[in-house]
Symmetry: D2
Subunit: 346 residues, 4 copies
């Protein structure tokens, strides 16, 4: 049994890490860190854990935590992990950072999109981008994993094989993404009130959302050159789930079969990626509560484009589930340990 | 006072025509036509009309209805209106058809996309496409108006000025549309059950939705040549509302200002189209229950694309409201009569 | 045309007063008062009013407002109206207070349930409880109307005739109420976030909700003696609507017919109260967006109880609509002016 | 490993049994019975099981199934199980019937409330009412278990200790229950369409719901005499969850402490019943996806009543979870095997 500490345990992603680790055979939770609820019973904040978690919230002292825990999950606002991280911590503890602090290799690009100074750029080179299906071997050896964003996980996994295999024109990629509201976090903001979200849909962060450079970087690595794409997120009146609908122009001669083969080539041994049968479109409900990503693509012959679709649970594969999957790889556990929840429907 | 008859009065669009006409000064409803509920009290099906509507449902005999009504609304499945229409009807009564039967000028194209034979192609030439803001003068003179589809109204109005003014490349248009569930109608289908729709989002009709040719035709007229575009509808867990997010590559030198000017040029005198302030994105909630369309566009300089957004209430401007607006034009009433509902929020 | 001022115009109830008054023939809005948004465009906060309201928010200076307005609506937290009200204001302006400050005649009882000191008890005696269907004549003559609470309006109107006619035992009344989330206001609280409310239902304020004494007082007046009842509110994942399910033991010999007659006796001339047909249960959807209250009752012969049910839109008949109805009475306007919205479904 | 067969596998309860059994160490599913989808891939109907279930649907031949399976779950309409059951089946296979066929001991009472003739009353005496926390020992020995209804499980567990200990007057019990829509099943009915349920709440089956006699019987056994109570179910716009709010008059001298002690007496060793801390009200979200029931009660001193509240997931503890729990008892497995899902929030 290893010991895990969670900083930001009272946010939605932190809460989901707790849910998953409670069913994990190799891990016990040693620290429920929270800025707002120190000394309060954790199960008093999330009553779903009543009688399952007895602990009270601790502070967010990452140094003290590093002495107690074998792995630290930071489910915190941008900048926190970078500001706290030190060699001393990394030399004793592994870190899975769910913020964006170590996702982007070019520090100037990070600072431009996030509008803050990076406090510990010296750790960026060693940080591994924790998209397990693509960087599995590097993750196994990592001390510091940058857990991908929710939109980015869904976008990259949906598009990656077609870019990698050169089936689409990378300069034509447009990603139209739709997310449940838990992605907006548990902060008390008017925009996230029930009455503002329910019976409503809107785009936000148009042409400016921070997940854009992250997707561009990773797909750029896949095709071997820089690319620029359009990414538009939308807020949907549901708790969980991200659906990505992505568009690109096909290279000459690409068929429905070659697309399916590309997906199969990269994903047919992947436990958590399900390439759906022809003509079946992903739905977020079919992955709810689970670590699966459902993917498919349809060719629009009239316009010579492909419509790629991917669905995941933003709190599981889009955050906590992927973090646990990364931890499993880093510690040599069975990769799917604690992650075999069957999707819940309805 | 004129008399109106509604065929398909017990569907969601028909029900919404009733709601709007009850507040209309120039119209009384003479016929609530329904296939399934003949002789049943209309207010027993839609109890919101309890004590407001005393009538019982009639059959769908369009010939008998034509002798009683000055205007007939057909809110019926594809093929019905075409199969019933005759010169005798049109010579005594005006018809607003909410189905697709008379929207597409090329009968072969209609038959290909809808998979049925058109029963009265002789009326297609005279039918006017009832998008009031674009075809106002023709509508005033029409006997037969083809009321546009919900997705198409939103898509066309959102994109039209930029195509018409040549600001975007028509071959790059991609429309990603999101609709509330009332657009799927009131038929008892498993796919539209609460538990199947709630906490879920999916694309459907990918690369094959029937509103595609309708949008292509109208935008083609605007730019003076045929075009092909990609259209992807999604089902969103809300009752009402359509949000269109449309993408296109900009022609050289197009600025945020020139885009705004294009919208203003075509819409600044339009009562029901609201071009939003810079950086404000449309939300379906802000038009709920009303005949407004909210529109805006944002330039993505990094990719030289424009993201166009439009929102409307699919049952009002996307169906019944537009039908009433068309009727107002056809009978010389004040165009906004019966349509000044203030959007309801939350 | 009279001039109206709204204090608390940026809350949900204030926003709904605006929606209704925009369609009112006799009133123009002269003052959009707000504590949080002074000098900001009102339509920038509620974009549904874009192009319909050009004004910016004013402060909440009730004295200055009294010099400009013929009527003031205070849609403000408990204590505000009582703390601001003075004879000088009431001598020039009529006031409809949507808070609880003047609803309870016994000031000690008010202070006990609300936990604050009443700042102007001298106005309590003249304040009229603004339940139009019961106190119509007093309202016509009032300077100060205490607009009833949302739960209380629904509860009282549902139970009143049966208490008044002595058909039920007043000591057995239990009210189980369910409300949409707009009743909780627009304050940024974690408990009202979309993800906390959606896919959830809970009771709150059990045996302690502040609407309890208000219901008890009014039903007590109806039966001529004090009574105590149990009231339990619940939070439901929807924007609008209150459903009250109330229980009481029947007096001997009471039949379904005598109950129906009691409702008819008090309500058959009431425009906004719809006593439904036998066996039809009220649904909140059937009154959404309107000023109607739908009511019915079913006898449970096995237990000799009656189950009384009432449904209204908490923002209309439960707040803003009733406030406008009160204003109409106070100024001698047609009682239904501005309130004839047809319920919107779906 | 035992083999399980499910008749009615394509309904919501059947689908949930599959979800739970996929994580059960001692059971494999041998038969996915369905009337409507014979020979179709089960995972094609519920795509959440894609790649997790490869089987196709079988028919509903209970006799053939009995030869293959060690346990049969019948998640079927009323009357089915009774019409199929024979000694031959029960002599080789254990049966957990999720319908009401064997819940009510008095066959005349069953036939009166359900309006059908009972086809095999000879099995009623041996059938054990499968409320595990109350009838655990009988269930262990049973061949035929009548799995309790969703409303009844929640109602009985919430009220049972107070009736059993004589703390409340059994003749004053009123149950106001609220259910998510999955309780209405997956049949294609207009009333259960998204647009009819969303943004709406209603009571139904008032004074006539079939779960009434079942609750009365079980609480009657607890207090040693017949009782009659009022039960009112409501339909809430959410997928899962039942909240019961129950009212009763207190016997003299009953305190908050004595109520808490009664709950503790019966439930403190129960794994799936969580008696909440004082003043914490149950919320359906806190048990979603899990087999827990959360319970609490508040005294209303002013009226000398107690308000009892219970929450569960209608598809888990209210149906499939309890069925699996019953199976575990019948086969001597660990009672919680396959049922330790942590509630999912949000």
């Amino acid at each position: 049994m290893i010991k895990a500490g969670i900083i930001g345990a009272t946010g939605y992603a932190g809460n989901e890490i707790v849910r998953l680790l409670l069913g994990h055979k190799e891990v016990e939770i040693a620290w429920y860190g929270s800025r707002s609820y120190i000394d309060k019973k954790y199960a008093g904040i999330y009553q779903n854990f009543f009688r399952l978690v007895d602990a009270s919230c601790m502070d967010e002292n990452m140094h003290a935590l590093a002495r107690e825990a074998d792995v630290i999950f930071t489910a915190t606002p941008q900048g926190f992990c970078a500001s706290m991280l030190q060699e001393e911590i990394l030399s004793t503890t592994k870190v899975v950072d769910l913020s964006a602090d170590f996702r982007i290799k070019d520090v100037a690009r990070y600072e431009e999109w996030y509008g803050i100074r990076h406090a510990s750029p010296q750790f960026i080179p060693e940080a591994v981008y924790g998209l397990c299906e693509i960087n599995r071997e590097e993750i196994r050896k990592a001390r510091l994993v940058a857990n991908p964003g929710c939109y980015t996980t869904c976008s990259i996994l949906t598009i990656y094989p077609l870019v990698k295999e050169g089936l689409i024109d990378p300069d034509t990629i447009i990603i139209d993404a739709k997310s449940g509201t838990s992605g907006a976090g548990r902060g008390a903001k008017v925009d996230n009130l029930f009455c503002e979200v329910n019976e409503n849909i809107k785009a936000y962060g148009v042409a400016s959302h921070r997940h854009t450079p992250e997707i561009e970087d990773q797909l750029g690595y896949a095709c071997g050159r820089e690319l620029r794409l359009t990414f538009t997120p939308h807020l949907v009146p549901m708790n969980r789930g991200i659906l990505v609908t992505a568009y690109a122009s096909l290279k000459d001669g690409v068929t429905q079969e070659s697309i399916h083969e590309a997906y199969e080539k990269y994903y047919n041994k992947e436990r958590f990626i399900r390439v759906l049968d022809p003509s079946v479109c992903p739905q977020t409900k079919w992955v709810e509560g689970s670590n699966y990503v459902d993917i498919n693509a349809v060719i629009d012959r009239r316009t010579n484009r492909v419509i790629m679709m991917g669905a995941l649970d933003n709190l599981v594969k889009g955050a906590a589930g992927q973090a646990v999957q990364n931890m499993n790889l880093m510690f040599g556990f069975e990769e799917a340990e604690g992650l075999m929840q069957v999707p819940m429907c309805p």
